[in-house]
Structure formats: structure tokens, C-alpha cells
């Protein structure tokens, strides 16, 4: 039974349709593995009962020949997606007991396609973090370890750290993530899996706990490019309840991935080689990625994205500003935590509730955002950042207008770091997202594909960036990279 958890989503779909095993068996195998690897703390709320019910329903639909694209596939749902009747915490104490009376659109789409919910995956509080260490429900452990320090625990990245750890540890076949500045791609790279942040507007944001509304985008995390394409097809689509979700057709993403990259122009931006904090090893992996795509028939061309170095600073105004506004709703009135004592005023209640309910990083960002939006500072910070953001988006547009089809970069400047490193300087932590934030600011699709192991035996991903709504080309190029890299390494945890 244990081998069932090693299947890809595509393989499992074939096996289910061929009646080689049942959805119930597939789900049981994953529930058992979840118990074995409970120490990873990848799940905040496992949902075994719901999983068994959903798997039984899948088996009934398969028997009737009514299987959907994700029929019987057990997945983890980042605990930022509201699930009707199942606690949704956003990794925060302020929502610690929140049970949504409604279901997010993306999760609804996945259930309609037949997916099975294994549980709600751990994450950085309100998706704010790059190591999953800001969760109120404890750290998540990366199933990978360094070969020279096998006992040392590493972070899974963040904010979708539980999702990435679960998929890498084979305790979910796939998982949903959300990405605001790199929260799908960075943990995917740290955990040796594949993760896609789709174009802004490809997936509905309705029912996802909001962080920064002009940046947030849901996306799939899985072990292969094909699986990511399958999942995205089930998740995406216009939703009248999110006016920023694009009213355009959802292509058959999985159908296009084997088309190869012959004739494609792959842009290599010179600015993605920062002077500080960029490991030479990762530079070498990037160069190998270029060779892989050239060997597959693509042409690499040097490009310039001149405003890259300002992306992080612009992001750390725009995202906190939007967060401070979005998180104003947690006031102890309608849901979540309330802290109030006899004789307290309404303001006392707001201040106490929010002071007790939010963690340190969330408070920092609310304060930065509030300051940036406050009277007298709006032009200097928020408006300035939105202008720089326009220039960053223009850089990408200029590159694509010059004939580049897709852009190849590293996903992260370094591989996974230790849980014991305790990075206390916020800016140092923010630098994790230096390669993913520009794509987010421009709203473009970005895919991280595991390509190689570092000398320490840790996975490292490369990122492919595409034109708006051209996930097809990104996935095609990702598949070419995946084939050439033949990344089959597994976390040491699974080698027993």
C-alpha cells in the first residue's frame, strides 16, 4: 500500500480508472502516511473523516463512469482557503476557532473535479513569511535534510510551507498554495517539488483569506509539471464573485506540456545575479538550466530587467499597505478572537483583540502599511511604490515584446536554511523572495521546477516566467526542464 503515495496525480488517475485500486485505498494510504509523518507539522487540521467520505463518493462516481479530472486524488488545502464546516485559521490565533459557513471558489472547483480533502495545511500567519515560522500553529519541518547535517531540521520555506512539505513527504499528492510574493515558488524550491503561481486573475480569490489583494493568487503545488497542469485546470476559471478573475476560457493545460521548446526564445535577465547573498552553486545550476533548454532546441537570449533591484522595496510597501487595510476586518466583532473586559470601550476591545490575536510579523506589516498609507506619507511611500511597480511591469513587457517567450531565473538565492538559524532581521528574511517578487508585482505566471541538488544534498528550483495568461508556454518549458533534469531524488526522510 505504501507505494500508492509515491504515484503522481496523473498515474493515480490512470490507476483509479483502470480499477487497479480504489479512491478509498488511495486515501487510506495517505492518511496512514500523514500519521507516520505527523512530526513535520504540515497539517494544522487533518480531516480524515471528511477524506473518507469524499473518497467513497469518488469511488461511486468512478463506478458510474462519471470521474472528474481530479477524481479520487487526495490533496492538502492551504489553511487560507475557507472550507465550509472545517476550521480555517490562516495560521493565526485571531482565527483560531473560525469555522467558515461557506466554501472558497478554488476549493469548490477542486471538489467538483473529484479531489479529496486530507486536511488544512500549515502556513505562515496570514501568509506573511518565507519560512513558515510565523504560524501560530508551530513550525513546519522540511522533509529534506543536508547530507552533512542529517539531524538538523530545515525550514520548508513559506508561506505555503505545510503544502510544500506535505507534497514532498508524500502525505498529499498535491496541494493548493497561494502566492503573494513567492509563497508557492520559494517553498516548492526548498522542498524539491513543482509549484505554479498563475497569472493574476487566472484563479478566483473568493473565499481565500486576503493578504494583499492586488498580488494574491492561488496556484497548484505537486510533484510533476503534468500534475501541476492538471490541478490548475481544475482550480482556474472566471468567478462572478471575484471581479478580478479573468473572464477568459481555461485551456487544457496538461495537453500542451509535451509540445517541447524547439524554437522558443528564453530570456536570461542579467539582473538576477545579485552581488550579495547569491550562492555560486545556484548560479551554476541556473547555467545548467540554460543548457538543458538549449539542448531541447530553445534559444537563450540575454535580456535586461533594469528595475529588478527595486522590486523588493516596492513590494514591502504595496503588500503591507494592502494587508493593513485587509486585516482591519479582524476587530473582534463578527468572527474570530475577542478580548474585552468589563468597562472597556469599543476601541479598547479592538486594540486588545488585535494586540492579542496577531503575531509579531503580522503586526510589523500592519504598522508599516498603516504608516505608508497615513496622512502625509501616502505619496512618498504608496504612490511611489506603485510607480516603481509600473516600471517593473514595463521591464517585463519590453522583454516579451522583443520576442522573448519565457524567462528563466533561479527561484531562490539559496537553498533551505535551518530552523535553528533564527533570522531575526526582517529585511534579511525578505531577501528570500528577491527572485519571485518582481513576477508577483507584474502579475505574471511563474513556475518553479526542481532541477538539481546542491552539494549539501538540498533541492534547488529554477523559475520560468511567462506572458500574462500564457501558463501554457511556462508549463511547456517547465516540462522540458523537468525531462532534462530528471530530478528523481527523494527526501532522506522517505529513504528510511
Amino acid at each position: 500500500m505504501t507505494t500508492l503515495t509515491d504515484l503522481t496525480i496523473a498515474e493515480a488517475r490512470k490507476g483509479l480508472d483502470a480499477k487497479e485500486f480504489t479512491a478509498a485505498e488511495l486515501t487510506e494510504a495517505h492518511l496512514a502516511a500523514m500519521e507516520t509523518h505527523a512530526d513535520l507539522n504540515a497539517y494544522i487540521t487533518p480531516t480524515p473523516e471528511r477524506a473518507r467520505e469524499m473518497a467513497a463518493a469518488s469511488d461511486a462516481r468512478i463506478a458510474k463512469g462519471e470521474a472528474g479530472a481530479m477524481e479520487g486524488i487526495p490533496i492538502a488545502m492551504k489553511d487560507l482557503f475557507c472550507t465550509d464546516g472545517t476550521r480555517t485559521t490562516a495560521g493565526s490565533n485571531i482565527l483560531g476557532t473560525f469555522v467558515p459557513p461557506y466554501e472558497s471558489t478554488v476549493s469548490t472547483n477542486l471538489w467538483n473535479a473529484g479531489a479529496v480533502l486530507l486536511g488544512k495545511a500549515n502556513l505562515d500567519e496570514f501568509a506573511m513569511g518565507s519560512s513558515n515560522e510565523t504560524s501560530a500553529f508551530g513550525n513546519v519541518v522540511n522533509p529534506w535534510t543536508r547530507t552533512d547535517q542529517p539531524e538538523r531540521k530545515l525550514v520548508p520555506g513559506g508561506s505555503s510551507g505545510g503544502s510544500a512539505s506535505a507534497v514532498a513527504a508524500r502525505i498529499a499528492m498535491g496541494a493548493t498554495g497561494t502566492d503573494t510574493g513567492g509563497s508557492i515558488r520559494q517553498p516548492a524550491s526548498f522542498c524539491g517539488i513543482t509549484g505554479l503561481k498563475p497569472t493574476y486573475g487566472r484563479c478566483s480569490r473568493w473565499g481565500i483569506v486576503a493578504f494583499a489583494s492586488s498580488l494574491d493568487q492561488a496556484g497548484p503545488m505537486a510533484r510533476t509539471v503534468e500534475d501541476v497542469a492538471l490541478m490548475l485546470g481544475a482550480m482556474a476559471g472566471h468567478d462572478p464573485k471575484d471581479s478580478t478573475s479573468a473572464p477568459i476560457a481555461v485551456p487544457d493545460f496538461a495537453a500542451a506540456i509535451e509540445q517541447g521548446v524547439a524554437g522558443l526564445k528564453v530570456g536570461i535577465p542579467k539582473e538576477y545575479r545579485p552581488e550579495e547573498g547569491f550562492s555560486p552553486e545556484i548560479d551554476a545550476i541556473w547555467t545548467r538550466g540554460m543548457e538543458m533548454l538549449r539542448d531541447a532546441g530553445a534559444e537563450t537570449v540575454d535580456i535586461s530587467l533594469p528595475h529588478t533591484k527595486y522590486a523588493l522595496a516596492a513590494y514591502y510597501i504595496v503588500a503591507p499597505a494592502e494587508a493593513s487595510s485587509n486585516l482591519a476586518r479582524y476587530d473582534g466583532v463578527r468572527y474570530g478572537l475577542r478580548v474585552v473586559e468589563d468597562g472597556d470601550s469599543l476601541n479598547d476591545m479592538y486594540c486588545k483583540t488585535r494586540g492579542a490575536g496577531f503575531g509579531a510579523e503580522v503586526k510589523r506589516r500592519i504598522l508599516i502599511g498603516t504608516y505608508a498609507l497615513s496622512a502625509g506619507y501616502y505619496d512618498a511611500y504608496y504612490l511611489k511604490a506603485q510607480k516603481v511597480r509600473a516600471l517593473i511591469a514595463r521591464d517585463f513587457k519590453t522583454a516579451f515584446d522583443s520576442g522573448v517567450d519565457v524567462i528563466l531565473t533561479p527561484t531562490t538565492p539559496s537553498a533551505a536554511f535551518g530552523l535553528d538559524e533564527e533570522i531575526t532581521d526582517p529585511v534579511t528574511m525578505y531577501l528570500n523572495d528577491v527572485f519571485t517578487v518582481p513576477t508577483s508585482l507584474a502579475g505574471l505566471p511563474g513556475l518553479s521546477v526542481p532541477v538539481a541538488l546542491t552539494e549539501a544534498g538540498l533541492p534547488q528550483g529554477l523559475q520560468l516566467i511567462g506572458r500574462p495568461f500564457d501558463e501554457d508556454t511556462v508549463l511547456r518549458a517547465g516540462r522540458a526542464l523537468e525531462k532534462a533534469a530528471a530530478f528523481t531524488a527523494k527526501p532522506r526522510l522517505l529513504e528510511g
Partner: protein
């Protein structure tokens, strides 16, 4: 840009966040560090640049201005810390 303790206290109240007195100084240091790092945006010439106002180049869809959902106050208020008859209850606002 360097924030002092009083500015942090003021912002914290604007954000309705209780910050204990002994945390004001450390927070002022952290926030100043972030803001100093953000100062680099000043190097970028944005004189003729319009701020980004929408991410995707698309016209937002329109719909009829009609009620499409609702009618279940019990569900809507089901997570309220304090409620009564389909209403949220809060501490007394007006004496």
C-alpha cells in the same frame, strides 16, 4: 527615515493594535530598519510614470445591481463572539 517611540504609539493606535510600552522601542528600531531599506526607491526616477492601478489589462466585468445572495443571518453570524437575534453585539458605544 527613523521612527520614534511616539510615532509608533500613534501608528499602533491608528491600526488599533495594543503594543505594550516595553515593545515600542524595539518596534521603532525594526520599523525604521525596514523604512530605511525602502528609501532606495528614491533612486528611481518616476517623474513621468503613472502609478500601477490594475494588474491585468482587462475591463472589469459588469453585472446587474441586484441581490444575489443572503437571507441566512444565522449562518452569517455563526462565528460571532457575541450575538443576539441575527445581530452582532459589541460593548456600549454611546452612553
Amino acid at each position: 527615515m527613523s521612527l520614534d517611540k511616539e510615532t509608533v504609539r500613534r501608528i499602533a493606535f491608528l491600526a488599533r493594535l495594543d503594543v505594550p510600552d516595553d515593545q515600542l522601542d524595539p518596534l521603532a528600531g525594526e520599523l525604521s530598519g525596514i523604512l530605511n531599506w525602502i528609501e532606495q526607491l528614491g533612486e528611481v526616477d518616476t517623474a513621468d510614470v503613472a502609478p500601477m492601478t490594475s494588474v491585468a489589462e482587462m475591463t472589469l466585468p459588469w453585472r446587474d445591481d441586484v441581490v444575489t445572495d443572503g437571507g441566512y443571518p444565522e449562518r452569517v453570524t455563526s462565528n460571532a463572539p457575541d450575538r443576539h437575534d441575527g445581530f452582532y453585539l459589541v460593548p456600549k458605544v454611546v452612553e
